[in-house]
């Protein structure tokens, strides 16, 4: 009992330990990440900024366990991703929100959210998460194609919330949105971090958006530093 309480109090922490990543192309071996290390704490929104081709998406793919680790490790609450396994890590700990939303087009907004709930094996009302991102039940019943870009991004965030993951990573989530919607979406991510006590990591170009993050990290020449 005592041990359980201690664990409950412990902060959820994601650690990147000396991550390296490279690939080969016509120009030879390209070193994308050169020993990236960082610590991400629950309840904070992090922004990772950097130029195109700096390796932001690669780093996000590694954090989201969508790509295989080459060098270094990722630990969540001291558990190694290598031990947890990519599939289980994706299922239990991390959820990704993509720039292109990555929603299943022939399903309704609600059904897209329900997938995440089903995978988690919980019984929850998808409408609750849709409501959290400002979508009505009526909008939840619409097919994805019938929703605007901003609404689709909200569905993607609702899905991330519904998955009950402790880590939400987002790749340019506001890239396709107008300024007003951009602000709404960023506010949603902030709420996710601050009110849902999640680790929110957003990869982005826009310095303006990055200003809303609690911590801004810059990825430059394969190295990650606090901006």
């Amino acid at each position: 009992m005592k041990k359980q309480k201690v664990e409950a109090k412990r902060e959820n922490v994601l650690m990147l330990e000396d991550l390296t990543y490279s690939y080969e192309n016509e120009s030879g071996e390209q070193e994308i990440l050169k020993g990236v290390s960082a610590k991400f704490e629950a309840g904070k929104m992090y922004a990772i900024v950097g130029r195109s081709g700096s390796g932001k998406t690669t780093l996000l793919s590694l954090i989201a366990a969508l790509d295989e680790l080459q060098g270094g490790d990722i630990r969540y609450n001291e558990k190694s991703l290598r031990k947890i396994g990519a599939t289980e890590f994706r299922l239990k700990y991390v959820n990704v929100v993509f720039q292109q939303y990555n929603l299943i087009k022939y399903m309704t907004a609600r059904e897209n959210v329900e997938i995440a709930i089903d995978f988690d094996g919980r019984k929850a009302d998808a409408n609750k998460y849709l409501k959290m991102v400002g979508l009505s039940e009526e909008e939840g019943g619409r097919l994805i194609g019938k929703l605007s870009g901003g609404q689709q991004q909200r569905v993607a965030i609702a899905r991330a919330l519904a998955s009950n993951s402790s880590i939400i990573v987002a790749d340019e989530p506001t890239g396709n949105l107008d300024e007003d919607t951009e602000k709404t979406v960023i506010d949603l991510f902030r709420e996710c971090a601050h009110e849902e006590n999640k680790i929110v990591i957003i990869v982005m170009h826009s310095k303006r958006v990055a200003e809303h993050a609690d911590v801004v990290l810059r990825l430059k020449r394969g190295e990650l530093n606090v901006a």
């Binding site: 998406t57 990555n102 995440a116 998955s163």
Partner: protein
């Protein structure tokens, strides 16, 4: 459509199997006692080598036959024998009756009681048999007259004889019309050996649908026919009979019965008689049925292979179309096993719906396809036989007419050739009961699910290679 074809092939195959079982139990269950021609020829060769005159020896040749008492004794074993039949064919003369000399349905010269008999008629006497005006075909039960069996003979008026019908006969319509005979009337025929007159009562008048039928054949039971044998051949009522058939209670015991007869009656072999299981009817029918079965098997394999290929392509295309969805699911934590399982489940649901639909419509479709297969196979069987024998229905042998050069051709008392019989039997017996049963439907489902499993292999290998990052980055 695929499921319909599979069901059709399965149904035809089961119908063939059922028909083969039925044929085995009916057509394969006959034991015959007939002349052992190999022994006869061997004896002839030995005699020729010993210097005997060929022509004289041919005149003295005796056709091995079995006595009616022995045939009856063998037939009395009710544990094996369900029924039996034997024949006795004799000639008789008539002073008062006219014979159908040139049968309206027969080429000239083929009427009358004469014709080919390498053994000197049916008599076992060593004397040369005498040809009479008419043939009396004695058979212990009218049902075993071959014309009755193949339904080429039909009673136009009166009734058939039975084993108690003393001196009762049935005559042909042509013969009756020629002599103004009616049912209930009498005819008097003379024994060609003893000149003794026997008065026979006309019990019925038959008509034959066979083109080559001999109108001068009078059918009677063997007791009546035996009255026209010579004194020696009559042998105080223990005369010889031919075409002895024992119809088995259970066809499986036919071989056992043959062994038992050979053990109990060694004199049969000594008299150059051969006891054997008659499979000719079964073989004649089985050929066509088996070819239908083989064709159905071939169709089943082709359809199954085609189905696997087509379903594999459909699933592969479907998976490719949905790989973005698969990527999303993988990014949400779904395992590749989950994805394959989902595809399999979808296939099973769609497949089951198709199988149920095929089950509802398949029986009708299977019937149409089965009959079409059967018809094409029968047609090719006919063409094959025409090539082998000549024109269908051509008479190639027989005791009452035909070419006197085929001593091995089985005797047909009504003058029909063996080939005609074979065709008649094929037409009659090759009737497949093409109806889908529970087993057929079960097999359809098993075959269908097997196709689904096989069709899933290739797409599953593709899914196992999936990397969510590649898919979601649009690189796959």
């Amino acid at each position: 459509m695929m499921a319909n074809l599979v069901l059709a092939a399965i149904v035809v195959k089961s119908a063939v199997a059922a028909q083969m079982d039925y044929a085995k139990s009916t057509l394969g269950g006959t034991v015959t006692i007939q002349a052992n021609m190999d022994s006869v020829r061997e004896e002839q060769r030995a005699k020729i080598e010993a210097g005997e005159d060929k022509r004289e020896m041919f005149g003295k040749m005796v056709r091995p036959q079995i006595s009616v008492s022995t045939a009856n004794e063998i037939a009395s074993d009710a544990s094996y024998v369900r029924d039996y039949s034997y024949e006795l064919s004799v000639s008789a003369n008539s002073n008062e009756l006219e014979t159908v000399e040139s049968n309206s349905r027969m080429p000239g010269g083929m009427g009358g009681a004469g014709g080919f008999n390498p053994f000197g008629g049916s008599s076992s006497s060593e004397e040369t048999a005498l040809d009479g005006d008419v043939t009396i075909s004695g058979i212990n039960a009218y049902a075993y007259i071959s014309g009755v069996q193949n339904e080429s003979i039909e009673i136009k008026s009166g009734e058939y004889f039975d084993e108690d019908s003393e001196n009762g006969v049935i005559i042909s319509l042509d013969f009756a019309e020629l002599n103004d005979l009616e049912v209930g009337g009498t005819i008097t025929l003379k024994n060609v050996y003893t000149e003794e007159a026997v008065e026979l009562k006309v019990l019925g008048i038959y008509d034959s649908s066979e083109q080559m039928a001999n109108a001068n054949i009078i059918y009677a039971n063997t007791e009546t026919a035996a009255k026209f044998l010579s004194g020696d051949d009559y042998n105080d009522g223990d005369y010889n009979v031919s075409n002895v058939n024992f119809y088995m209670v259970n066809s499986e015991t036919a071989e056992e019965f043959v062994t038992k007869i050979n053990e109990k009656y060694p004199e049969l072999a000594e008299n150059k008689l051969k006891v054997a299981v008659d499979t000719s009817e079964y073989d004649a029918m089985a050929g066509s049925i088996e070819s239908v079965g083989s064709f159905a098997t071939m169709i089943l394999w082709i359809v199954m292979i085609a189905a696997v290929i087509i379903v594999t392509l459909i699933v592969t295309i479907n998976v490719k179309d949905r790989n973005y969805e698969m990527g999303v699911l993988l990014s949400l934590g779904a395992t590749k096993k989950n994805i394959i399982w989902q595809i399999a489940l979808e296939l099973v649901i769609v497949g089951s719906f198709g199988f149920v639909l095929a089950s509802l419509t398949g029986s009708f479709f299977a019937k149409a396809l089965g009959n079409s297969i059967l018809e094409s196979q029968m047609q090719s069987a006919r063409v094959q036989e025409e090539k082998s024998f000549g024109r269908p229905g051509a008479q190639v042998g027989g005791r009452n007419g035909g070419m006197p050069n085929m001593p091995n051709m089985p005797e047909m008392p009504d003058g029909a050739s063996m080939k005609q019989k074979m065709f008649a039997q094929k037409e009659e017996t090759v009737e497949l009961d093409i109806n889908a049963g529970v087993t057929d439907y079960l097999l359809l489902f098993v075959a269908g699910y097997l196709v689904i499993i096989l069709a899933l292999i290739l797409p599953s290998v593709n899914i196992l290679r999936y990397q969510p990052k590649q898919i979601l980055a649009g690189k796959e």
